[in-house]
Amino acid sequence: MSTFIQTLIVGLRLGSIYALVALGYTMVYGIIRLINFAHGDFIMVGGYTMIFTIPITFALGLPAWTSVLLAIIVCAAVGVSTELVAYRPIRKRGTSMTALITAIAVSLLLENLAQAIPAIGPNPIVASQIFGTGGFTVAGVTMEWTTVYTIVISAVVMVVLYQFTQKTKLGRAMRCVSEDKEASILMGINVNNTIVLTFAIGSGLSAIAALMYLAQYPKVYTTMGALLGLKAFVAAVLGGIGFIPGAMLGGLIIGLVESFTTSYVSSSMADTFVFLILIVVLILKPAGILGKNVGEKV
């Protein structure tokens, strides 16, 4: 029983990080039908921003997690400039394939740029402890505070984001643009601004994901976003890309599958199962678990 609970907790905390990252993929895909492969690398940007900000927060006498505020701003800025510099001009001229290739190019550009800057690295940096140490024990399983925060914060962020898209004017504008761009223009929605806003929110979320990730796995390196981004992308597709609840569900499923495979099947086959699930879901339900079948997909 304690193994089961332990596995569940590990799965939930991995899953909440995947879900947060998957939200970024899903929001951008929903609005401009582009798989933003650079999204994983925004997490790396957030991670390094926090690494460099944490000493400043300590100097100011603030807790380490406040460094996430600057990380959100930096990530949002990187996301918005990616949209303005790379994606928008391509969207005007090229096809969706051109845009997809551009996204991969931006991803590689960010990774290699980070490697080339001496202050960042190519070498991994270990972060400081972000949340307090310690925890409590339930049924023989130690629950660390960090794990509790990870799960709670990501749940709160997801609920807030969902409410934002459902209830606010801006959120409704985002959904409208995602539904039908031309009709949105007729309704008086500024499509370009809405897309920029989506990029800002999606990238800002990657900074929060970076916070959770670093609190749990305190090491940053320039390619940290690659596998993380890929798994989150799988999560988004699994849940139904373009739908916010789908990203949450997909993220949690991927995290739980990974954890339970490690515990009960074979610890070296966790990734195999994650990607196997992607293939199976795409065969059985190409639109994803919560997705509506709209014909064109990945």
Partner: protein, 406 residues
């Protein structure tokens, strides 16, 4: 057209440079003719290449190699070079990536370099051993411990012991400390980790220790080891062998193992070297107590050879040399001795000199000869981490000269 001109310019620049190189070495030789033992000694400089992970997740090991080689070569040149020839070093980076390692190797070979120190990791080195034999280039790895790296009649040698010895030392230590049931957590896709698991497993059988639980990770990029250690707790073992590198041990494994409720001993190998610089500041570091590992040398060793090396290194680079540094330093001196014995820096002649099993090398990491495969027979230090909660330091536990009988 423009491109052609550029190429011509570049080529002529290269020629000029190589001519200039000949010129300087010529003068240095004529300046110290007495230092040469052999009148037929090769004219010109001797160039040694290094391959190490200078960037990437194991960059600390890359720096360890390049600094130690720089120190050794500086000492050798100051003392008159090898057979009167000055030594030059060309560093190449493998980024801890086997493909990059082969690129680095090819780049060194294309520069005409026949004597290479490298690479550091078993995973990278195993990618270039075949190429070294094909190109007939000497490859002396300071620290690639996988058994498969060196074989008889080849161009590959090493300055460190092999995993079959290192894994067995850990198994013997488990038995000595009274653990009859042990567990293993290893990385299934890494040559080094898998090799150590195999040798540990074989030695456990020999010593009558039961390997009760085995868990693995799919790659070295995995971040969560909680479930693996929860299985160890479930199996009831109190000694877990976890052969990983410092960049996984420091931030991930030890903390997660303790959080999963595992309180016993975690034992590893030379990949733990460097961990104290890779721990999480502000975390409860007392979790690092009861972590043991095998290493090639101990910088606190009082022998004169070790102390003079440690002092010279500290004076030059301002930090205490790790085992990889000590091994790389020894590797350069092994080349020196072999070139002197061969009377030439020709890779074939040097290979034959290194293959001589009667040659005795006295280095920082001990006095040893190479066996017929090119692996030294020498002892290991068992080292533990100790922590007061805020920092991690190392402590020498034991020095094992040879494996205890079963």
């Amino acid at each position: 057209m423009m491109k052609k001109k550029l190429v011509v310019l570049l080529l002529s620049a290269c020629m000029l440079l190589s001519l200039a190189a000949c010129g300087t070495s010529g003068t240095s030789e004529s300046a110290e003719p007495a230092a040469s033992d052999d009148a037929a000694a090769p004219a010109g400089e001797i160039t040694i290449g290094t391959i190490s992970p200078n960037t990437g997740s194991l960059a600390a090991y890359g720096a360890a190699v390049t600094t130690a080689v720089e120190l050794a070569v500086e000492e050798i040149n100051a003392a008159g070079g090898i057979n009167g020839s000055q030594v030059k070093v060309v560093n190449a980076d493998d980024q801890f990536d086997p493909t990059e390692c082969l690129n680095a190797f090819n780049s060194l070979v294309s520069q005409g370099i026949g004597l290479i120190v490298g690479s550091v990791t078993s995973g990278c080195t195993s990618a270039i051993t075949d190429a070294a034999n094909e190109e007939e280039v000497c490859l002396l790895t300071p620290s690639a411990t996988a058994d498969s790296i060196t074989t008889e009649d080849d161009y590959v040698f090493r300055a460190c012991y092999a995993d079959s010895f290192q894994g067995a030392i850990a198994a013997a230590y488990a038995k000595q400390s009274g653990y009859t049931e042990v567990g293993v957590v290893y990385c299934a896709s890494d040559t080094y980790s898998k090799g150590l698991y195999d040798s540990f497993n074989a030695a456990c059988e020999k010593y009558g220790v039961t390997v009760k639980a085995v868990e693995s990770s799919a790659s070295l990029d995995v971040q969560d080891y909680t479930n693996q250690f929860a299985s160890m707790v479930k199996a009831g073992v109190e000694f877990v062998y976890a052969p990983y590198y410092y960049d996984v041990i420091g931030p991930y494994i030890v903390t997660q193992a303790r959080a999963a409720g595992y309180k016993g001993i975690i034992m590893g190998a030379d990949g733990y070297d460097g961990t104290p610089d890779y721990v999480v500041a502000g975390a409860d570091l007392s979790v690092f107590n009861d972590v043991y590992w095998t290493n090639h040398y101990d910088p606190a060793d009082t022998s004169e050879k070790v102390q003079s090396f440690v002092k010279a290194y500290e004076a030059k680079f301002g930090s205490t040399p790790n085992a990889i540094s000590a091994l790389a330093y020894d590797a350069v001196y092994m080349y020196k001795q072999a070139i002197e014995a061969a009377g030439s820096a020709d890779p074939k002649a040097v290979r034959d000199a290194l293959a001589d099993t009667s040659a005795v090398y006295t280095g920082v990491t001990g006095t040893f000869s190479l066996d017929s495969t090119g692996t030294p027979a020498k002892g290991a230090s068992i080292i533990s981490f100790t922590s007061d909660g805020t920092s991690v330091t190392t402590k020498l536990v034991d020095v094992v000269k040879e494996l205890p009988a079963a």
